[in-house]
Amino acid sequence: MPAAPTPGSRLRLTALLAPPLLWLTLAYLGSLAILLLSAFWATDSFTSDVVHTWNTDNFHELLTTPVYRTIALRTLSIAVAVTVIDALLALPMAFVMARIAGRRWRRPLLVAVLTPLWAGYLVKAYAWRVMLGEDGVVGAALAPFGLHGPGYGTTAVIVVLAYLWLPYMILPVYAALERLPERMLEASADLGAGAWRTLRSVVLPAVRPAVLAGSVFTFSLSLGDYLTVQIVGGKTQLLGNVIAAQVTLDLPMAAALSAVPVVLIVCYLAAVRRAGALDSL
């Protein structure tokens, strides 16, 4: 017979959960609510002060100004590109780590994937700025092939973001591949399947939820990023730095703009949830 919670145990549970729940509600959801609320306020165009008059002008402007639409689409495309590149890079990398590398190599490889996460974000972004610069390593490496480095711009943003978020894709895919029993691969070969067939019919379906879970990170982190684009983006404008620029000038407009990535991410999460990927997070 399962014991009914006694008044004492219930009290303890409440005491235990109250602080984090309070924090979540006030600090996290509260700030989101205020953000959304302030999007409906206006700004005195002369003093840049926030005027608390309820209106939907900001959203109207957001939807009708072509520049905003272009920037939103560009941000979305970059997030998608980063996610696709990370998935394509993570799959073979995680496969080698989980399946091919022996026990001796697995740990060093894992550490190699994790180490960049411990380094400062700005350090890494500036390192890329140096590498992509006029006399940078990238240009020097491509020169013998008669190619030029991408310079600062959209391509550079994609490359750097893909580098920054790659571990978030590798780790879940690695975990999924490691969980995949060797027997599954053997069974597939045993029933006549070659390596490609096994990859397509057994390995990829098994890691699909992990790839989707990893894509939640790569996609949402790319949508929200504004520093990388400032450092290596040249003249490229993304939602993140437009918002950053607007915060001091027109806070309500910045709030309205930041609703765009929130909506996109919620849509993405809903789609991924339908695909069953959140079960493996």
Binding site: M184, E186, S188, A189, D190, L191, A193, P205
Partner: protein, 356 residues
């Protein structure tokens, strides 16, 4: 009688399904398989029987192609397949944990071998259904493996491996995860399936009952070597080594002095517990000895009721102990109670000499 029958049955199948020649497999410093020679005939139900760690599963994996031999040669239907990868060998495996693909339906699992070979969808589905019928799983086609019981998964694994009728079916402890009743039911079914399909079955098990019940021939494996190969009756009645005698069924092994005292001859002897009769100690031993029977008396030290039979432990005068199995029929001698004096008698031919 049964023995001759088995001999003729295997004697008529002359073609070879699997042949291992001096196959050795090392894992680092450990020799899992040690220069094994083995021949499995076409259409035979052949069992590799041995304790865990004896190398029997490695032998199976070598035939499947999951392992490469360190030395030696493997043939399937007369073709050298030593260097052939698993997907180009005409064998399928039923894995111990079934290894069904979790993201595929039962039907997709069963049809996998056909899908891989590019068989048209209509034919694929028809043959998958047919295979599911053979294992009595009609109506389960669209379920997922997670929705099935252990016994049903077992059947799906069988259907999947039989769907394109491989030359040899390899079964790795296929009944190990099932409960006793289901295991016995599946034993009969497996044997039946093998008979109706005519496919060569090569089974690995540590369960001697399973081996004795289903096999046409058994190879007893120990420490990477084969101790004895033969029909179940022969392996059971004429164990070639003391290990076989002890591993296949239970037995009374008598060596050295004990052999002289109990059997009356020097050497190592095996007497099966069910071949020893309990007699009234008052009955004169001389009368029984006349037709080649040996009779001794002892004292019962333990009686264990084991369902269909009872297990008696009997201490002989010099401290030797014998185990006796007796079917639970009527007519037990009066003295067959703990600490009672009892007479034991067996046919002298049942004290079978084994090389020690």
């Amino acid at each position: 009688m049964a023995e001759t029958e088995t001999r003729t049955r295997t004697g008529t199948t002359t073609r070879t399904a699997v042949r291992l020649e001096a196959v050795t497999k090392d894992f680092g410093a450990v020799r899992a398989v040690d220069a094994v020679d083995l021949t499995v005939h076409e259409g035979e139900f052949f069992t590799l029987l041995g304790p865990s760690g004896s190398g029997k599963t490695t032998l199976l994996r070598l035939v499947a192609g999951f392992e490469q031999p360190t030395a030696g040669r493997i043939e399937l239907a007369g073709q050298d397949v030593t260097a052939t990868p698993p997907n180009r060998r005409d064998v399928h495996t039923v894995f111990q944990d079934y290894a069904l693909f979790p993201h595929m339906s039962v039907e997709q699992n069963v049809a996998y071998a056909l899908t891989v070979r590019g068989v048209r969808k209509a034919e694929r589905l028809a043959r998958a259904r047919e295979a599911l019928t053979t294992v009595r799983l009609d109506g389960f086609a669209s379920r997922g493996p997670a929705e099935l019981s252990g016994g049903q998964r077992q059947r799906v694994a069988l259907a999947r491996a039989l769907v394109d009728r491989p030359a040899v079916l390899l079964l790795d402890e296929p009944l190990g995860a099932l409960d006793l009743a289901l295991r016995q039911e599946m034993q009969t079914e497996l044997k039946e399936l093998q008979r109706t399909t005519g496919i060569t079955f090569l089974l690995v098990t540590h369960d001697q009952d399973e081996a004795l019940t289903m096999s046409d021939r058994i190879a007893v494996v120990r420490d990477g070597r084969i101790e004895q190969t033969g029909p179940p009756v022969e392996v059971y009645e004429r164990p070639a080594t003391a290990f076989v005698a002890g591993f296949v069924g239970t037995t009374n092994l008598l060596r050295g002095e004990a052999a002289v005292r109990v059997v009356g001859r020097p050497g190592t002897y095996s007497i099966r517990p069910e071949r020893i009769l309990l007699t009234d100690p008052a009955e004169p031993p001389a009368a029984a000895s006349a037709d080649g029977r040996r009779t001794v008396t002892g004292r019962i030290t333990d009686i264990v009721h084991a369902g269909a039979h009872t297990r008696f432990t009997i201490a002989l005068p010099h401290g030797d102990r014998l185990t006796v199995h007796r079917q639970n029929l009527t007519g037990l001698p009066q003295s067959a109670r703990p600490d009672g004096e009892i007479g034991l008698s067996w046919d002298e031919r049942d004290a079978f000499p084994v090389p020690s």
